[in-house]
Symmetry: none
Subunit: 221 residues, 2 copies
DNA sequence: ACCCCGCCTTCACAATTTCTGCACATATGT
DNA sequence: ACATATGTGCAGAAATTGTGAAGGCGGGGT
């Protein structure tokens, strides 16, 4: 299946060129000319990668990048006008996966897109997972939320990690159970309810876990 | 002076990507495509840090990791395949300084390399590790804490040194055992419990060692 | 060679933490 | 209002860790 790339830039020319070359390289593309529309498309289209201009009218690319990072782990390639800005980007630890300085050749763009996709494409379980203002660190077995660190039990931790790996996706109790206890584990599915409750209590007053009546649970997203 | 990084992986593309980004980040790099060559380079080049793929032709990455550990204290970052659902502790069983799951982003690699180097950096000449209140002196097999000096046994010392090398990071019993006994010695994992207990008693009344139920132990931090 | 002593390992059992299963109260959707 | 699904409190079950004690092994001294 073709990977979907979202291109966000205020210069129609740039957008068109990027889109054309990415198409030619076998990618599906979606485009936006400003920040707000880009953010909306990122949410509705769930692209596999985003190419984002640093300078945008209406919403700064920097803010947009930060917003996007809060909701998903989608790979982002930043387009920057100057080399100096590049240093800032790295220094700020924006969370972009790569950057390209303008002017750039379309060939280079395609190459970078392929490269980033190859190594960042859908990795559900790295040591650190972020979703919204939750940050989960496997190597420390801790979850940070604004202002404090929460200690979770192993089961609660795996439960949260599973949901955080794909914010917004709905998981059935059976799926959550197998994620926590390994495959084919016969048990009372509603034991999950108890763990969800304990998790919610520890995450208070935040409302992170959403109940989907009749289906299961999901992380807000 | 630029730090020298040795990258060992059988996939030329991976090696190239790592090498490029490390170069861009100001490191000097040396590369090897298989285990034996990697071991030889580690000996002849004496790199400041090694990035090592877990899966290698000719010589398993894990064996190589152990061999390297026997000869020097060079920091090692392991590259591992995607974590299986059932194997939530794969990262803890490696006995390396850190690990990264593939696919990974270049910023993540560079960040981890910097972190590990900073951790291991200190002054190589004085075998002293500090973490919070604790100061550990390898040349004397002693630990200083506020107000007094405690004498430890060899096992207790290595145990504490391992945890102090990365405060806050969790270590499984298996990992602590291999850190203390060199390799993954087949032995009763809960022997670690006894040493932890003895360590705690000697460190009283401080609460330095934290139990993470179902996972292992870690140093506060 | 023999004994003593410190250290590591192992075991059995107690203490503690976490998980599961229920019963019943609430909430949701038709 | 009815049928179904979810939230909650709790107690027993299950799993994990803490602890004290005993045995093994090896080094040093006699």
């Amino acid at each position: 299946m073709a990977k979907k790339i979202l291109v966000i830039d205020d210069e129609p020319k740039i957008v068109e060129i990027c889109s054309d070359y990415l198409h030619a390289a076998g990618f599906e593309t979606v485009t936006a000319g400003d920040g707000p529309r880009g953010l909306a498309l990122a949410r509705s289209q769930q692209p596999d990668l985003i190419v984002l201009d640093l300078m945008l009218p209406g919403m700064d690319g920097l803010d947009l990048c930060r917003s996007l990072r809060h909701e998903s782990n989608v790979p982002i390639i930043m387009l920057t006008a100057r080399i100096e800005e590049t240093d800032k980007l790295i220094g700020l630890e924006l969370g972009a996966d790569d950057y390209i300085t303008k002017p750039f050749s379309p060939r280079e763009l395609v190459m970078r897109v392929r490269t980033v996709l190859r190594r960042a494409g859908g990795d559900p379980s790295s040591a650190v997972i972020r979703a919204g203002d939750l940050t989960l660190d496997r190597s420390r077995y801790e979850v940070d939320l604004p202002g404090r660190t929460v200690v979770l039990t192993a089961t609660e931790f795996e439960l949260l990690a599973t949901m955080m790996s794909q914010p917004g996706r709905i998981f059935s109790r059976a799926q959550l159970l197998s994620a926590v206890r390994g495959v084919a584990f016969e048990s009372y599915e509603r034991a999950i309810d108890s763990h969800i409750r304990n998790l919610r209590r520890k995450l208070e007053p935040g409302e992170y876990i959403v109940t989907v009546h009749g289906i299961g649970y999901k992380l807000e997203g």
